[in-house]
Every structure is written in C-alpha cells, then in structure tokens.
C-alpha cells in the first residue's frame, strides 16, 4: 500500500494526489461544519431566547439537522409554471459552488491548503460576487414578487458592502505585504485584530452583509418578504440554498479567522485545532450579534454602507498606508495603543456627525 502510494506519487505527480485529498477534505469540512453550525445556531439562539431548542433527536438534539435533511429530501419538488426553468435549476448551484472555491484557498494549517494563490485576496473578493449572482438568479427565476424584491436587495447590498470590504482588505494587504493567504497568516505575529481594529470592525460588518446574516438579512427577511429569494424553492433545491447560506457562514468565519485572528497560529494545540477554535469563536460572535440586533431596513443598510463604512474604511487605509510608509519600524507598544485610540475616536466622531446630519435631514 505504502509502496503503491509512493509510486503513484512519483508517476502521476504530487499535484493530482493532493488535489484529490484536499477536494475530499474541503467538501467534508464544509458539510460537517454546516451541520454543526445549524445545530449550534439553533441551540445557542434558543439559549439566548430562554428556551431549549432542538433536544429530541439524538443526544442533545445533535441529529436534528440530519433528520431535517431526510425530511427535505422526501419533499415534493415544485417548479412554478411561470418560472424560468433553466435558471431555476442552475441558480442554487451557481450560488453554492463559489463558497467551495473560496474554501479551497484557505490555509487550515501550515502547508495544509488546496492552492496557495499569490492573488488570494483578490480571488476571494472576486469569487464572492459570483455567489451573490447565484442568489440573485434564484430570486429572479422563481417569478415571484417577493423573491424579486429580495434579489434586488441582494444586488444592492453586494454593490454597497463590497467596497468597504475590499478597502479594509487592501489595508490588510499593505500591512502584510502580500496577497497570498499563507503569507498573510505568516505575517501575523500579532493578530491583525489588534493591529487594525478599525479595519476589523469594517470587515466584520461588511462580511455580515455579504453573507446575509441577521442585522443584514434583508434578502430573505421572513417577516416582510415571506422568505425572500428562496420563497418559490422546495425540496432538494431549497436544501441547496439553505446549505449555501450556512456554508457562506462557514466561509465568513474562516475568512475572519484567516485575515484577523491569526489563522492556524497559536501555542500548544496543532494548527488545525486553532483554526477550528477561532472559526467557532467568530461564528459565536455572529450568533451573538444575531440574537442582539434587530434587522435593519434597506435604506438604513445602504446609509450604513455608504455614509458609515466607506469613510471609515478610507480612513483606515490612509492611516495604515501612512504608518507603513513613514514609520515602518515603529514599536508595537506605541503604534497599537495609538491606533486603537485613533479608531475609537474616529468611530465616535463619525457616528456623532452622522446623527447630527440625520436630525437636520429628517431621513
């Protein structure tokens, strides 16, 4: 067996073997994380709301997601008679595949990664737009008013929040000196959340909007749009959209981990354990936000993106660029407190400025 593997290694080349193993690993990782995230979300939200959550199927209700999957597989698959059939079929796949493509570039451990693109950051921000197009298509193809409104909101949010997200990533790239994700993790002797708190805040809010988590889940806003873009979907296609939503949450948590929490680096534990621990911590933070904040209106969301996040992201980019050009060797003991102070001041000042503007404008 061992000899066979080595001969395979020499004849076919490392590439295909690594490709196969990593592809299987990434799909398994995303699927199992999605199942665990669904269970975690339902249990944690239940604790927040002082109820129990799913607790019947298996120990602690662990098998609830599997039971749901079986139920969904046996449901009737309905296609509305006026729907655009081709788009209706392909849209869930277009939405889902980019999340796997992004996971392929994430370093789980030192060297344990499917591809180390030297344009990794650009790749991630480019591919995430394709996923949004998939969600938009699934809203349009169903030929339903509510889905259409949800789809238009998706595009509006994509256009608005992409800019602050990319700007905060740009300041990250300036500070780390590379667009490769492995290099970004390797550059974080101190996690970026401490070095760039303002960038972290901007990125966090923008990624919440990109993956449609609760303060920004206008795309499917149950109480106003029934279920938004996936109203017309049922059966397996609905399951795929549901999977997309949670695998986007997995991707979001993985991106926050890689960019701002230091990726797989940490003492004592092996790298992949640190990665998973940090991923779960960021997902818990997302859940905390979800159970705390009410949903924004679409105009509030747009105001936040264009008037709130965009200037903050520009200030962040400016300050980081200044620091890297004029004081590249400044001690961390000076630069970190100064930058944290600057961030808090800028956020407070800008929030006060916006509030004053709103009073005079009466929006």
């Amino acid at each position: 067996m061992n000899n066979w593997l080595i001969s395979l290694d020499n004849s076919v080349g490392n590439f295909w073997l690594q490709f196969l193993i990593m592809a299987v690993f990434i799909i398994a990782f995303v699927m199992s994380s999605v199942i665990m995230f669904i269970w975690t979300e339902r249990r944690v939200i239940a604790r927040f709301q002082a109820r129990l959550g799913p607790n019947r199927a298996g120990p602690f209700g662990l098998f609830q997601a599997i039971a749901d999957t079986v139920k969904i597989l046996t449901k009737e698959d309905i296609i509305p008679s006026l729907a655009d059939r081709v788009l209706f079929w392909t849209a869930p796949a277009i939405a889902f595949i980019p999340t796997l493509m992004i996971m392929a570039t994430i370093p789980f451990m030192n060297g344990f990664q499917m591809v180390d693109l030297n344009v990794g950051v650009l790749f991630i921000s480019a591919v995430s737009a394709i996923s949004a197009i998939g969600i938009f298509l699934s809203g349009v193809a169903g030929n339903n008013k509510y889905s259409l409104i949800g789809a238009m909101r998706e595009i509006a949010q994509l256009i608005s929040f992409e800019i602050p997200m990319v700007l905060s990533l740009a300041s990250l790239v300036i500070a780390c000196g590379s667009m490769s994700l492995t290099q970004i993790v390797a550059a974080q002797n101190v996690p970026n959340i401490i070095l760039q708190p303002l960038g972290f805040v901007v990125f966090m809010v923008a990624i919440l909007a990109e993956i449609n988590r609760t303060p920004f889940d206008l795309v499917e806003a149950d109480s106003e749009l029934t279920c938004g873009f996936n109203t017309e979907y049922s059966g397996m296609k609905f399951a795929l959209l549901y999977l997309t939503e949670y695998s986007e949450a997995v991707v979001g948590a993985a991106l926050i981990t890689t960019f701002f929490l230091g990726g797989w680096r940490g003492p004592f534990l092996p790298g992949i354990m640190w990665f998973v621990v940090k991923m779960i911590a960021s997902f818990m933070f997302i859940l905390w936000l979800r159970s705390t904040l009410p949903r924004l209106r679409i105009d509030q969301s747009m105001h936040l993106a264009w008037k709130g996040l965009l200037p903050l992201a520009l200030v962040n980019l400016f300050v980081i660029a200044l620091k890297n050009v004029f004081f590249p060797d400044l001690s961390l003991w000076i630069s970190v407190p100064v930058y944290i102070l600057v961030s808090v001041l800028v956020i407070l000042l800008w929030a006060g400025f916006l509030r004053k503007g709103r009073k005079s404008l009466v929006v």
């Binding site: 081709v86 693109l117 344009v119 480019a126 394709i130 197009i133 298509l137 595009i155 256009i159 992409e162």
Partner: protein, 167 residues
C-alpha cells in the same frame, strides 16, 4: 496536454457564451451569457499564467460591470420574452457584414511570424503582482496615465451625480 484541454474547454464556453449574448431572446439570459463569456476569458488568462489579470477580469467585469448591466436590464420594460424593436435593422446588417469582411481581410493578410519563433512556454515566469504595481505606479512607470484615468473617473462620477440629482 492538460493546458490544451483547458484551452479548448474554455474557448468553447467563451464562444458559446458570446453566442448566447446575441441569440437569446430574453435580455436577462443574454446578460448571463455575457457573464459566462467573461468567466471563460478569465480562465484563459489564468492558463496563460496571468493570474492577476484573470482575477481582475472576474472582479471588474463580473463583480461590477455585469451586475450593473443586470440591474439596468431589470429596470427596462419587456425584460422577459422580447427583443427590443429597432428601426435600424437594415443598416445594422450592412455595418456588421462590412466589419466582418474587413476583419477577415485583415486576418488573412497579416504576416503571422509566430511559428518561426522558438516556443517560449517553458520559461514563462509568472508576472507577480508587485511587478504590475511597479509598472503602474513606479518611478518610471505609467503613473501619469493612471492619474489621468483617475481624474477622468472622478469627473464622470461628479457628472453622473449632477445629472441624477433631484431638482
């Protein structure tokens, strides 16, 4: 072998995407065909080891331009099952045929000397992002052109705002 296969797959999808753009009755599907075409061209760039260009292609053309076109299509009437009527069908046919004839003539009459050159595939080194950055923004780079383009874009944005502003 692998890169040949990749080239043919990407070339066929790019051409079929481009054909979808001009043949589809529904404007919305035509926009999607355009996205397919852009994606395959980005793939072609990547097989030519121009990764940065490929990513920029996806980022700019799909992430921004295609989405804007889709938005514009959604705002027009009769999106679903019609071509927008045009009174200029006959001149358009003549113009298109003339353009086709000229491009075929140019293709046939150009001296293609590529086959005499030695194959350079072996020693292509991927152009790194920092090289592109230096060419664009470096001391002897194209910084003036970049700044003029930026100025043009700012002027266009201000113009768009002043046109769209409510009176």
């Amino acid at each position: 072998m692998g890169s040949d296969l990749a080239f043919w797959v990407l070339a066929v999808t790019a051409v079929s995407g481009a054909l979808m753009v001009v043949t589809m009755r529904s404007l919305f599907r035509a926009a999607l065909g355009m996205i397919l075409c852009f994606l395959s061209i980005a793939g072609l760039f990547i097989t030519l080891t121009a990764e940065y260009l490929g990513m920029a292609q996806i980022f700019v053309y799909i992430g921004a331009i295609a989405i804007l076109i889709i938005m514009a299509t959604m705002l027009t009437r009769q999106v679903e099952h019609s071509n927008l009527p045009s009174p200029y069908k006959f001149p358009a046919i003549i113009g298109a045929l003339a353009f086709l004839g000229v491009s075929i003539w140019v293709l046939l009459n150009t001296q293609w000397f590529l086959e005499k050159l030695p194959p350079i595939i072996q020693d292509i080194t991927p152009v790194s992002t920092s090289t592109i950055g230096l060419i664009l923004f470096g001391q002897e780079g194209l910084i003036l052109a970049v700044e003029i383009a930026a100025l043009l874009l700012v002027a266009a944005i201000i113009g768009a705002i002043s046109v769209a502003k409510e009176k």
